[in-house]
Assembly symmetry: C2
Homo-oligomer: 120 residues x 2
DNA sequence: CAAGTATTTAGTTAAATGCCTAATTAAGCA
DNA sequence: TGCTTAATTAGGCATTTAACTAAATACTTG
């Protein structure tokens, strides 16, 4: 279960347009690290990408993207795994799933309480 | 459906500890506006509270709480309705529900895509 | 080991954020 | 019509954030 501080970190991470777009990119990119296109050196998930490949899609300098990725990783919504001299990045589905169920629980409980209150 | 900018606003709003706690307070408070306890003047939902009642639970000045509430309202996660000279505040379940289903859709699609990729 | 590739760290700067107090608006009541 | 209550607006200040460039680290390869 995500504790409150962790949830706040996640919201903070996604509450910035650039980071939100980076997350979207990691999540839906659907491209391998472009550096591996011609000559793949390591075996990774078909969704995995790497820092400089993500940066290609943005007008910000590489260190800026790197810092944003660090914040997304610290929030637990992406994973970054070093293989060879690159870092392969994937969404952390476990966290996304948990976050979804938090909201579901919130809605269900609220509905249940309302029903309880208004029952005959 | 929540558009991207709206989602970012929601995340930004909840990505600050004070606002997160205010939201929690609005959501789970379970108390009427304390000013109405003895002598209720208007009829509101049993969950509704008001700005100064929320502020009682925090060590921040009233204008600070007011500003935070405004941000939560602009993000669409609470509603604020003026009745008499007080403002009654409630969680906006519609937005919470939508946000939950966004994450659910994200998870489901990802799982579906993964399954598609790895199928025999 | 030198050169190249991938990424992070350090240090700087401008803008945004979060808080405060004082003043203002709005509504209800004696 | 003034007095009280509820909330917002205005203005100021300290801290944090998000960006940059330059330098450092880590790993690979000739």
């Amino acid at each position: 279960m995500l504790d409150m501080q962790q949830k706040i970190k996640i919201f903070k991470a996604l509450g910035n347009e650039t980071r939100f777009l980076i997350f979207k990119n990691v999540f839906t990119g659907g491209y391998t690290c472009s550096l591996d296109k011609k000559d793949p050196k390591v075996k990774v998930s078909p969704h995995a990408t790497c820092v400089s490949t993500i940066a290609e899609h943005f007008d910000f300098a590489l260190p800026t993207i790197s810092k944003h990725l660090k914040e997304l990783r610290e929030a637990g919504i992406i994973t970054m795994e070093k293989k060879s001299n690159k870092i392969y990045i994937e969404p952390n589905m476990e966290t996304i799933r948990e976050l979804g169920s938090c909201f579901n629980t919130l809605v269900e409980n609220f509905d249940a309480n309302r029903e309880l209150f208004f029952k005959a």
